[in-house]
Subunit: 333 residues, 3 copies
């Protein structure tokens, strides 16, 4: 992978963002944006909500963007008014997306194409992208710059793989699906939804099959992951930073919101919706058209909106069907 490294000092960041440094040497070099739990000495991180101050205290971040009056002891802090927006701007400076590196050749000269690959006329492969042996790219497939595909991948017509995507071995993607598009992340600043740059990527394991017109967004800073052996049906939507385990089944028109984690062997039946930032334990089954609004332990079997244990839901539905009669009886006295 090729990424330009940009470095700014803490002082430069403070000047650009308009804040005050606390407990941080002004010349500290900062070259990446990271979540608190992954941050190191050269990272800037941020604390959006003062109630997570404890998490900040465990972080090794070289600099933390935070509100002016939050108490962070002697941690290195850049105090400013809108830390989430500052974080978004810092991503843009430290992780700039290079312009696409197009050439007139459909396969970029710097791409490495494995033995036995078949690349149809009208398919394109970006700069520095590596294809394993025996991959098949149908007409109109576009694989962006700096991607890595394993062996025996098959991409049907119109599939778009954004830059830096990593597919394992024997991954099949059906027509017009999109892997690696920008996640949906904005912060409201002065009445405008300012974009949080989405500079992460998508990692797909081995033996994954992805249906047609599926969308899988890249992570904000790190990966969105689809585990090995997982099968994704048509028109499924996977938001940024979602982590799907191995051997899961995501049936058609299901949508998973950002940062949610699924264990292994999870089944989401058709048209399921899952809110963000929750965990669904391994071997759970969610009935069709259900909406999962809370984390679920391993082996759950839930249905409904909001999803609850299947038996409870069935009882509530049965009771609801009898309710009009009950109300008529009560009215009669």
């Amino acid at each position: 992978m090729s990424r330009t490294v940009t470095t700014l000092t803490a002082q430069e960041l403070a000047e650009r963002l308009g804040g005050t440094l606390d407990h941080c040497p002004p010349d500290r070099p900062i070259s990446e944006v990271k979540p608190l739990e992954e941050a190191g000495a050269g990272s800037v991180s941020f604390l959006a909500n003062p109630k997570y101050a404890g998490k900040a205290k465990e972080s090794a971040a070289g600099l933390i963007l935070a509100d002016p009056d939050v108490d962070l002891g002697d941690l290195p802090v850049l105090r400013l008014k809108h830390p989430y927006w500052a974080f978004a701007r810092a991503i843009g400076w430290l992780h700039p997306e290079p312009a696409p590196d197009w050439s007139d050749a459909p396969v970029h000269a710097s791409a490495r194409i494995g033995e036995g690959c078949r690349i149809a006329p009208g398919a394109t492969v970006g700069a520095r992208t590596v294809l394993g042996k025996g991959c098949v790219l149908y007409p109109g497939v576009h694989v962006g710059d700096d991607c890595e595909l394993g062996e025996g991948c098959e991409l049907f017509p119109g599939v778009v793989v954004y830059r830096r995507t990593r597919l394992g071995d024997r991954v099949t993607v059906h027509a017009n699906s999109v892997v690696g598009s920008d996640g949906y992340g904005y912060v409201l600043v002065d009445g405008h939804h300012a974009k949080i740059p989405q500079v992460g990527w998508v990692e797909v394991g081995d033996d994954v099959e992805i249906g047609a017109c599926v969308t899988i967004d890249r992570g904000v800073l790190g990966p969105t992951r689809i585990g090995s052996g997982t099968k994704v049906d048509n028109q499924v939507q996977v938001a940024h930073n979602v982590q799907v385990g191995s051997h899961c089944l995501l049936v058609a028109q299901t949508g998973i919101s950002g940062s949610t984690r699924l264990g292994d062997y999870v089944t989401l039946a058709g048209k399921v919706g899952v809110v963000g930032h929750i965990e669904i334990g391994s071997r759970s089954v969610v009935g069709g058209n259900s909406v999962v609004a809370k984390s679920l332990p391993e082996g759950s079997f839930v249905t409904g909106y909001p999803a609850r244990p299947h038996r409870e839901w069935a009882e509530a539905q049965a009771a609801l069907n009898r309710l009009p009669r009950l109300m008529r009886q009560l009215r009669k006295g």
Copy 2:
């Protein structure tokens, strides 16, 4: 924009459609089809439902297609049996879609490409289309005839922009999205769903971001609109003649039915469905997976199917969960 103008006299329309003219000079020239409220002296409009006769009386339409026995005073009327179907046929005659104007060159010779644009190999730009400065078209992008794109637009691989679409400045559209496809409009005639020609267009404001695999249909006669600063997530569907205000958030897999209007700063969370022909007031928030079946005043916060004030919905759900026990208790006496 280039559109062929066809003119028919009122008498010619009467002959083709098989109806009777009332209060209308037979030689009146008619050159466009318009809704009652936008119609002028050269327009033909239609009254599908006699209960809207009042609206017809305020119209300046040169000719109104209406049922044989509806009372419209001395308005100029073409009386016939199936005014909606007549309207559909009149669109086809007065607003014929020209055949696509393809050339062997990927960028049509009549297109005007702004300074600093980058057009990837395999992207195509249609006849008379204008691109502002600094637009980026990825491989496999297809922009139709007579489109106008502002400055700094970025269209990812596989994006399709149908003819006559207008995008503002700094509009980003992610891979495999479709802007300007035909709306879903048919009228049942003799057991067949006859197509209402969809000859409108799509207008997108400035600073709009559109996710992957989104579909936005053109209006029937006029525009479908997405206001400036609005952000549209993956797999959202926007039907014909929908008017979305500025700075709205339309989260993944949401669908908005025809002619519905959203104010500004409206949030529709994931998988929301909105029926047609309603209004959602500014700053309203609709919870995920809800179905909005009625107009909502400004600042509403609704959830559920059908959507109701969030607190009511939460109470009803809580009551529903207790209902099976209540019924068991009542049965015991």
Copy 3:
């Protein structure tokens, strides 16, 4: 159509699959996999569930894959442990998908293109595919090998038609839709979801219009069918082996699960979900956002989740809205 015919003897199948032949001459030639009801002397079929043994007894199949101890009288059986998985493997051997037959020419030399067709630069047509008169293929359209399109079909940019698809006359498909992608079929074997090869096709009747970003999967062994005059809105998903009748309306974001059958003039309003293996009678109407979980007789009008007669659903919703107050009253005594 060109398909390679492979033949194996019953004995060869038994050896490859590791089972025991019963009442079947070992040299019986088997050249196709078929469902029980369509199977003939040269077909192998399978019985996944012993409770359907009756159906097996009416079958003319030359060989039936079944569990070791199911009683099938003197039917020709190959007894083995995992008949569904054996069936999947047999499909792979007897119905191998040939590699795509690409050439450098966008239209394959063996394709037959009707008079007056317009094929845009960047569109591709596969080997042995036949286009009727006056078809229009926009830029970036990909029609696979061995397809048949009738007269006057119009395929908008980015449409992908997989191999062996058959479209009738005057079929319109809007941008980025996919017709003929693999169905979603797997069988769990030793902790892996093994793929059931999807070797069927899609058949679309005359005068069908298909919206943008629609997905229609091919059948497992036979066709998925969309009847003449049916209109399919944007982002609809039709699973493998679904049979949709004539003149149906499938509104946006609706999904139909595998093997379900719709009669004629059925309307599924927006965002409807239909489970698999049921029948919806002709002239039925399903309200928006409903979930159909059971077969429906002709002329049904249902709503809700699960869908029930519209009036029942409306009553239950009204009662639910009054329920919190009722519960407060009961608590007070």
